[in-house]
C-alpha cells in the first residue's frame, strides 16, 4: 500500500491535516521558548560586569549580510513550495537545495562571528550579558542547523518518492518552520544587534 491516506472511505481524520495542525501548536511552544530567552536577554542586557558590551564588539556589516542571506533563504523556500504546488519535482528539489545552501552560509557567518567575539575576549562566561547573548543567538542557530539537516533528509525522500501527500505535508511544514526562524531572527536582529549598538 503506497499511500494509505488516500482513497479509503473510513471515518478517521486526515493524518496530514492533523500533523500540520500539531506543528502549529509546536511552533507556539517554540514562540514561548524564544520569548523566555528574549526576556532573560533583556533582563541581563546591562549586566556586563565591567567587561565588554555590545557596542564594543558587534560588527554590524556581517550581521547585515547574514540577515540578508537568511531573508533570501526564506524567499527561496517559498519558491520551493510554488514549484511543489505546480508538481515540478526537480524545481522543488533545486529550490530546497538553494535554501540549504543559503542557510548553511548563514550558519557559517554566525560561527565566524562567534569565533571573532571569543578572540576579542567575550566568551560565554565573561559576564551575564554574554551568557544571555550566546544562549539566545545560539538557540536560533541550533534551530537553523536542525532545519538544514531536516531539509536534506526531505530532499532525499522527494528524490525517492516524488511529490506525495506525505512529502507534500513535510515540505509545507519545513517551510513553515523556516519562515518562523526568519521572524525570530528579525527580533534577534532588532533587539540584540540594532538596539545593542545604538
Amino acid at each position: 500500500m503506497a499511500n494509505v491516506n488516500a482513497g479509503h472511505h473510513d471515518h478517521h481524520p486526515d493524518q496530514e491535516e492533523l500533523r500540520t495542525f500539531a506543528f502549529w501548536i509546536y511552533l507556539m511552544t517554540d514562540v514561548i521558548l524564544f520569548a523566555t530567552l528574549f526576556a532573560t536577554y533583556i533582563v541581563l542586557q546591562g549586566s556586563t560586569d565591567g567587561g565588554p558590551g555590545p557596542k564594543d564588539l558587534f560588527q554590524m556589516n556581517g550581521i547585515y549580510a547574514s540577515t540578508f542571506i537568511l531573508l533570501t533563504s526564506s524567499f527561496t523556500s517559498g519558491l520551493a513550495i510554488l514549484a511543489m504546488n505546480k508538481g515540478n519535482r526537480l524545481a522543488l528539489m533545486n529550490w530546497l537545495g538553494v535554501t540549504v545552501f543559503l542557510g548553511a552560509s548563514f550558519l557559517f557567518l554566525e560561527i565566524n562571528e562567534f569565533m571573532h567575539l571569543v578572540s576579542e575576549g567575550a566568551t560565554i562566561s565573561t559576564s551575564a550579558f554574554w551568557t544571555a547573548f550566546y544562549t539566545l543567538v545560539g538557540t536560533h542557530g541550533l534551530h537553523v542547523a536542525l532545519g538544514l539537516g531536516w531539509m536534506i533528509i526531505l530532499i532525499m525522500q522527494i528524490a525517492k518518492r516524488g511529490i506525495t501527500p506525505v512529502t507534500k505535508r513535510k515540505v509545507n511544514i519545513i517551510s513553515l518552520f523556516w519562515h518562523f526562524l526568519d521572524v525570530v531572527w528579525i527580533f534577534v536582529f532588532t533587539i540584540v544587534y540594532v538596539m545593542g549598538v545604538n
Binding site: 494509505v4 479509503h8 473510513d10 471515518h11 478517521h12 481524520p13 491535516e17 492533523l18 500533523r19 495542525f21 500539531a22 501548536i25 509546536y26 507556539m28 511552544t29 517554540d30 514561548i32 521558548l33 523566555t36 530567552l37 532573560t40 533582563v43 541581563l44 549586566s47 556586563t48 560586569d49 560565554i124 562566561s125 565573561t126 559576564s127 551575564a128 550579558f129 551568557t131 544571555a132 544562549t135 539537516g149 533528509i153 532525499m156 525522500q157 518518492r161 506525505v166
Partner: protein, 657 residues
C-alpha cells in the same frame, strides 16, 4: 589498577550509608529476579512485542500508571523517613544533609514522576475512548512521550545510589543549586531527569490537544464532549504554555553549571531572582495542570453516581478555561516576601484570590448535581465526596496564604506545607485514585473489591487529617519548612508525633490498596457488561477491557451523555440496537524506535551528568539517528480484517452478525 577502580567506585557509587547499601542490594536482587523470571518463562519476545514497542494508548496508559505507583512507593518511603526524623525532638535518625536530599527527591518524585504520569495514564486510557476515537492523534509520539518520561524518571532515581541525590529543594533555587555551592552530580541528575521527561510531557500536551480538537466521533461537538475530556484539554493547553518555560529554565541552569555561564550566579552579573521568577512561571501552572483533570474526574463520577446530568455543564467548562488562564498570572505569590514591593504583591494577591471563584463554582456544581440525585456510594463516589471538605479547607488556607502581608507570617512555614499537601494529596492524588477506581473495570475488565477499597479510603483520609491538620498549627507556632531537627523547648513534640502517626497510617492505606488489587485479581469477577456502573459516556458502550481497536463501529453521537441517552431510548423501545456494518480498521504499527531513542536520551543525560562526552556524544548521534530512521519509514500502519474484528468481539462476549 585495583586501587584506581576502588577509588572510582567510591566516588561513583554512594557509599557509607546503610540505607543505601540496603537499596543497592534490593535493586540488584530485583533486577536478577525480573531477568530470570522473564528468561525462565520465555517472555522476552512477548514483553517486547506486546508492551515495550506498543503504540496502543491503553497499554501505554497502563505502563504510566504502573510506573507512577512505583514512584508513589518511592516518594512515600521518602515521606516516612522524613516524618520519622521529625517524630521526636533531637532525633539522630537522619543527618541534615541526608534530610535535604530526601525532601528534594520526595518533592520532585511526587510531582513530576508520580502525579504527572498518573494523570497521563488516565488521559491515555480514557480520553480516546470517551471521544469515540480509535487512538490518540499520534500514537508513535505517544509511545515516545512515555519512554522519555520513563528514562527521565529512571535517571533521576539513579542519583540515589550513583553519584548522590540533589539537595536544593524541588525547585532548585540558585545560588545554592549553582556549581559554586553544589558541585556534585546530584543537581545535574535533577536537571537531566526533569528535562528529558519534561520534553515527553510537552509532546503529550500537543498530542492530546490535537486528539481532543480533531479526532472526536462524528456528531460530538465540543459542547457535547464529556467533562473529563474538557479538563484534559484545559490542562494540556496549560502544559503547552508552561513547559517550554521549564525547558528553558533548566537549560539556563545547565549552561551556568556546565559552560560557566552567569545567568543566576552571584558573580559575573547574574541574577538568581530571575530563576525564581522563571521556575514559578512554570511551577504554578503546573499545580493547575495536575488539578484540572481531577476536577474532570469528579464531574464524571458525580454525574454517574447521582444518576443525573452534570449540573451547570457550561459554567464548568468556562470555569476550567478561566482557571487555566489565571494560573499563569499568579506566580509571584510564591515570593511575596522577597522584596517585589507593595504594588506587585497586591496584583498577585488579587489574581490569586480570583482563582477561588471558578473553583467555588465547580464545587457548587458538584453539590447541585448530587442534590435530589439517586446517590449510591461505591468507592469512586466515596472518594469524590470525601474530597469536597478537603478542597474547602485547602482552598480557604490558600486564600489565607494569598493575603500578601499575612504571608510574611506563613511563608515557608509548616502552615504552607500543610496547605499544599491538602490540595495536592486530597485534591489531586485522591482525585486520581477516584478515577482509578472508577475506570479500573474499563481498563482491566474487573472491578476492585469494594470492602477493601472502603478500608483504604478511610485509612487514607484518617491518616491524612492526622498528618496534616497539626501542621497548620505547627506552622503558626513557628516551625519552619525544611527543618530537620528541633529542641524539646519548642513545645512541638506532641503535634509532630501525631503527624508522624498520620503518615504511617497513610503508608498502611497504600498497602491496603495494593492488597485490594491483589485480592481482586485472585477472586476476579469478569465484568461482562462493559458498563458496570451504569454510566453515561461513550467509553462504557464497548466491552471491558476495550479491544485494541476500541470501537468495532464508529459511534454516531447525537447528545451530551450520549451512551446514557441511547440506553434510555433502547429501554423505552424508541431505538433498536443498531445493525452494524463492519469495515476493515486502520491501525498504527508497533515501533521499537521510541524505547531505543529514549535509551539514547538516557545516555545523553548520564554522559552530561558525569561529564563523559564519550557517552553523551554517541547518545546524541543515536537520538538523531532514530529520528532519521523514523522519518524515512513510510510503512507505519495496517488494516485489521473484518474476520478479526468479529473474532475479537466474540471473545469479549459480543456477537456481531
Amino acid at each position: 589498577m585495583w586501587e584506581s577502580v576502588k577509588e572510582f567506585a567510591s566516588e561513583f557509587f554512594v557509599t557509607g550509608d546503610p540505607l543505601i547499601y540496603g537499596a543497592d542490594v534490593s535493586i540488584v536482587l530485583s533486577m536478577i529476579a525480573i531477568v530470570s523470571v522473564l528468561t525462565y518463562f520465555k517472555k522476552w519476545g512477548w514483553l517486547w512485542r506486546e508492551w515495550l514497542t506498543t503504540v496502543d494508548h491503553k497499554k501505554i496508559g497502563i505502563m504510566y500508571i504502573l510506573a507512577s505507583v512505583l514512584m508513589l512507593f518511592r516518594g512515600g518511603v521518602d515521606a516516612l523517613l522524613m516524618r520519622a526524623q521529625l517524630a521526636m525532638p533531637e532525633m539522630q535518625f537522619l543527618s541534615g544533609d541526608h534530610y535535604n536530599q530526601i525532601f528534594t527527591t520526595h518533592g520532585v518524585i511526587m510531582i513530576l514522576f508520580m502525579a504527572m504520569p498518573l494523570m497521563f495514564g488516565l488521559f491515555n486510557v480514557i480520553v480516546p475512548l470517551q471521544l469515540g476515537a480509535r487512538d490518540v492523534a499520534f500514537p508513535f509520539l505517544n509511545a515516545l512521550s512515555f519512554w522519555l518520561f520513563f528514562s527521565g524518571a529512571m535517571l533521576f532515581n539513579l542519583s540515589f545510589v550513583i553519584g548522590g541525590s540533589p539537595d536544593a529543594g524541588w525547585l532548585a533555587y540558585p545560588p545554592y543549586s549553582e556549581l559554586a555551592f553544589n558541585p556534585g552530580p546530584g543537581q545535574d541528575f535533577y536537571i537531566w531527569g526533569i528535562q528529558i521527561s519534561g520534553i515527553g510531557s510537552l509532546m503529550t500536551g500537543i498530542n492530546f490537544i490535537v486528539t481532543i480538537l480533531k479526532v472526536r466521533a462524528p456528531g460530538m461537538t465540543l459542547m457535547k464532549m464529556p467533562m473529563f475530556s474538557w479538563s484534559v484539554l484545559s490542562s494540556c493547553i496549560a502544559i503547552v504554555f508552561a513547559f517550554p518555560i521549564l525547558t528553558v529554565t533548566l537549560a539556563l541552569l545547565f549552561i551556568d553549571r556546565y559552560l560557566g555561564g552567569h545567568f543566576f550566579t552571584l558573580d559575573g552579573g547574574g541574577n538568581p531572582m530571575m530563576y525564581i521568577n522563571l521556575i514559578w512561571m512554570w511551577g504554578h501552572p503546573e499545580v493547575y495542570i495536575i488539578v484540572l483533570p481531577a476536577f474532570g474526574i469528579f464531574s464524571e463520577i458525580v454525574a454517574t453516581f447521582s444518576r443525573k446530568k452534570l449540573f451547570g455543564y457550561k459554567s464548568m467548562v468556562f470555569a476550567m478555561i478561566i482557571i487555566s488562564v489565571l494560573s499563569f498570572l499568579v506566580w509571584a505569590h510564591h515570593f511575596f516576601t522577597m522584596g517585589s514591593g507593595a504594588d506587585v504583591n497586591a496584583f498577585f494577591a488579587v489574581t490569586t484570590m480570583l482563582i477561588a471563584i471558578p473553583t467555588g463554582v465547580k464545587v457548587f456544581n458538584w453539590l447541585f448535581t448530587m442534590f435530589r440525585g439517586k446517590i449510591t456510594f461505591e468507592t469512586p463516589m466515596l472518594w469524590t465526596v470525601g474530597i469536597i471538605p478537603n478542597f474547602v479547607i485547602g482552598g480557604m488556607t490558600g486564600v489565607l496564604l494569598s493575603v500578601a502581608p499575612a504571608d510574611f507570617q506563613y511563608h515557608n512555614s509548616y502552615f504552607l506545607v500543610a496547605h499544599f499537601h491538602q490540595v495536592i494529596i486530597a485534591g489531586v492524588v485522591f482525585g486520581f485514585f477516584a478515577g482509578l477506581y472508577y475506570w479500573w473495570p474499563k481498563i482491566f475488565g474487573f472491578k476492585l473489591n469494594e470492602r477493601i477499597g472502603r478500608w483504604a479510603f478511610w485509612l487514607w483520609n484518617i491518616g491524612f487529617y492526622l498528618c496534616f491538620m497539626p501542621q497548620y498549627a505547627l506552622g503558626l507556632m513557628g516551625m519552619t519548612r525544611r527543618l530537620y531537627t528541633y529542641g524539646w523547648d519548642k513545645g512541638w513534640f506532641e503535634m509532630n508525633l501525631v503527624s508522624t502517626i498520620g503518615a504511617v497510617i497513610m503508608g498502611a492505606a497504600f498497602l491496603v490498596q495494593i492488597w485490594d488489587i491483589a485480592h481482586s485479581i485472585k477472586h476476579m469477577k469478569r465484568d461482562t457488561t462493559g458498563d458496570p456502573w451504569n454510566a453515561r459516556t461513550l467509553e462504557w458502550s464497548i466491552p471491558s477491557p476495550a479491544p485494541f481497536y476500541n470501537f468495532a463501529v464508529m459511534p454516531q453521537v447525537t447528545s451530551q451523555d450520549d451512551w446514557h441517552e441511547r440506553k434510555l431510548r433502547i429501554e423505552q423501545g424508541l431505538e433498536k440496537p443498531a445493525k452494524v456494518e463492519l469495515e476493515p480498521i486502520h491501525m498504527p504499527k508497533n515501533s521499537g524506535i521510541p524505547i531505543v531513542m529514549s535509551m539514547f536520551w538516557f545516555f545523553v543525560g548520564f554522559g552530561l551528568i558525569f561529564d563523559w562526552l564519550w557517552m553523551a556524544v554517541p547518545g546524541f548521534i543515536g537520538v538523531i539517528g532514530c529520528m532519521v530512521v523514523h522519518s524515512f519509514n513510510y510503512d507505519t500502519d495496517y488494516y485489521v480484517t473484518v474476520e478479526e474484528i468479529k473474532r475479537t468481539e466474540a471473545e469479549a462476549g459480543r456477537v456481531i452478525t
